[in-house]
Symmetry: C2
Subunit: 344 residues, 2 copies
DNA sequence: GATGCGGCTGTTAGCGGTAACATAACAGAT
DNA sequence: ATCTGTTATGTTACCGCTAACAGCCGCATC
């Protein structure tokens, strides 16, 4: 099952090897490989040929140290598995693609101490910029970010004070807006179903905004249910069942994300519950998944692609007026009523 | 909306700054910060205090150059958005966590030329190892990997010849196995629904194995339908509708992944089609999502967590016998019949 | 023919750490 | 008192590359 380990006698190649193989100085090789400065066509050809033939791969560690430039952008997010960050990443990659910058992802699992460690690790590679989710960070994290001396963009959320720049939506406002819509549609006994969220600050803010708007309409949450871990779709089912059994008079279910909302929708449809007549449903995020459901769940898209794009543009110095720092961009999520809120 | 850009007068800190602040040599500071070698407790205290006070973050670029050691492991995958790789990443992170190694993700979007670029970029940082999906790579990629001088683990698939090590399942066999199960259950008019797959070699191998087993039973595919892009769940619905309309006598639908399978299942349920009586359904991957569906879709889990773990263990040199190279590990996916294959 | 200049190439001196090898101080053994 | 060994610290020489500058050549200019 195992083939013999062939000891590698070749040291790994350096500029010097290419230089010797092509008969020019290391400096000239360096210039050729970076397309920097003037080199005659004939020399360029010779160098490229030698590099290709040897299979030379430049050592960016040495290059970065010498030039004090690192073409890396750290991206720090809480989780890969919840459908929201892949799209942010797409936006970031799209923009960075033709800037020579390269995103590097770090995952925190919603743990502040993990975040601190990831920030430290990232900064120790002296990246050209940092993009990270959320505005809430440990004190030590904040200090590191402030000291870093590179552009830092906090994304997703703008309800708070960024270290440097921020691109996102107001989750508080998003929650409020959804509540207003629901109340306007005539629902009165409204329940909330969501993640246990010691560290999901954005979900928390949405709920706060939601309750605030309810209060203004003279209402309070009729019930609430929380979960953590497991298949979100399944949890959505289970929580929905639990709430509807416990509080049969509830007429609206507000979910903290689309995945559990979808689970709830499937549950209601399977049980033959009239949606949106008997109960209305709404989620949050506008994930692509929803397109495939039997009925379109009401939701609010979180502008994830744009957030990624704009954050990357700030880091890449592509913003109009060349702003690279201290910008706060608030995007407006659009409410999609779908088929699960009745027409007031 | 923008705050003034405060010019950063402080150069970024170096060992020398900490050394001066604590009155010892740079070397001693270095030792303290890496916990390497003997340092007296009093000195250690003084150094740590100074480092903390100044907010010093070591420069790993310089460290890596000097020590010829980089605690990074490149992980190259085709896509972040299909639910399968997050779980692989989890397995990898779990294992690397306490080895001091750090995964760095690169995404290829199923494009060989992107893959080549990502491999080049990764190798230029001289990582301690590389984990990449699939066994099919451009010639240039293969050459780079072979020359890299670090352990390379190709994951997910083992139907082919790895550059170095491989951890995965046989997709060909997986396809065969599912076909046998379906045929044994008495289905005869079987259709395939999947991605357009110029570069999804694993889906292609599953289909090949599937058709091979059908042929052995004297059957051929009754119909086939392909898609690309868009919401997989929605595509699953649409394709299912298309196939069932076009070939009303089809009695089984084999999907190349669970997400479109789930779409198909939802479609059938909504249309009141008897599953698994009138048509049977099966997908591939065993994603968590399925737990939340109204009925459990037949599928085969791809051992993603284990694949990640084992790959990481190889890189980290944690395999029994200290094998670091040239190992091929085949895992056996388990078939989950769910509720969508009738009992033969 | 001296001068200037742009195109091309080479030389030198780091970048900020760490490996490897001194060195110093002091304890206990002889 | 000398030797040995251990612990704690410092010194030196790089790691592989690039910025900055220096040189050389040929050609147009005055």
């Amino acid at each position: 099952m195992t083939k013999p380990v062939v000891p590698d006698f070749r040291r790994t190649l350096t500029l010097r090897d290419v230089s010797e193989a092509s008969g020019v100085s290391e400096m000239t090789v360096s210039r050729v490989l970076r397309n920097r400065g003037d080199v005659s066509d004939s020399t360029r050809e010779r160098v490229l040929e030698a590099a290709r033939r040897l299979g030379y791969v430049p050592n960016k560690i040495a290059g970065a140290l010498a030039s004090q430039r690192v073409n890396l952008v750290g991206v720090i997010i809480p989780s890969l598995s919840n459908m929201v960050f892949p799209e942010v990443m797409t936006g970031i990659s799209d923009v960075l693609e033709d800037t020579g910058l390269q995103p590097v992802v770090g995952v925190t699992n919603y743990l502040p101490e993990r975040e601190e460690a990831v920030i430290y690790e990232m900064l120790s590679w002296r990246p050209s910029g940092l993009i990270l989710a959320g505005l809430e960070h440990s004190e030590a994290s904040q200090a590191m970010l402030a000291q870093a001396g590179v552009p830092v963009v906090e994304i997703m959320d703008i309800d708070g004070t960024p270290v440097d720049s921020a691109v996102g939506i107001s989750h508080r406002r998003a929650g409020r807006q959804m509540a207003e819509e629901i109340v306007a549609a005539g629902y009165r006994r409204i329940a909330f179903l969501g993640t246990q969220m010691p560290n999901d600050h954005r979900a928390k803010k949405r709920l706060a905004g939601f309750e605030e708007a309810l209060a203004r309409a003279g209402l309070t949450l009729a019930d609430r249910e929380f979960y953590s871990g497991g298949s979100a779709l399944l949890k959505g089912r289970e929580m929905t069942e639990a709430v509807l059994k416990r509080s049969p008079d509830v007429d609206f279910l507000y979910y903290s994300n689309d995945m559990i909302g979808a689970g709830g929708l499937l549950y209601c449809l399977a049980e033959g519950i009239d949606v949106p007549g008997r109960v209305g449903l709404a989620g949050f995020n506008g994930v692509e998944l929803l397109d495939g459901l039997p009925r379109r769940l009401a939701t609010m898209d979180a502008c994830r692609l744009d957030i990624g794009r704009l954050a990357a543009e700030i880091i890449a110095g592509k913003r109009p007026d060349g702003i690279v720092s201290g910008e706060i961009i608030e995007l407006s999520p659009t409410l999609q009523r779908g088929d699960t809120i009745r027409n007031g």
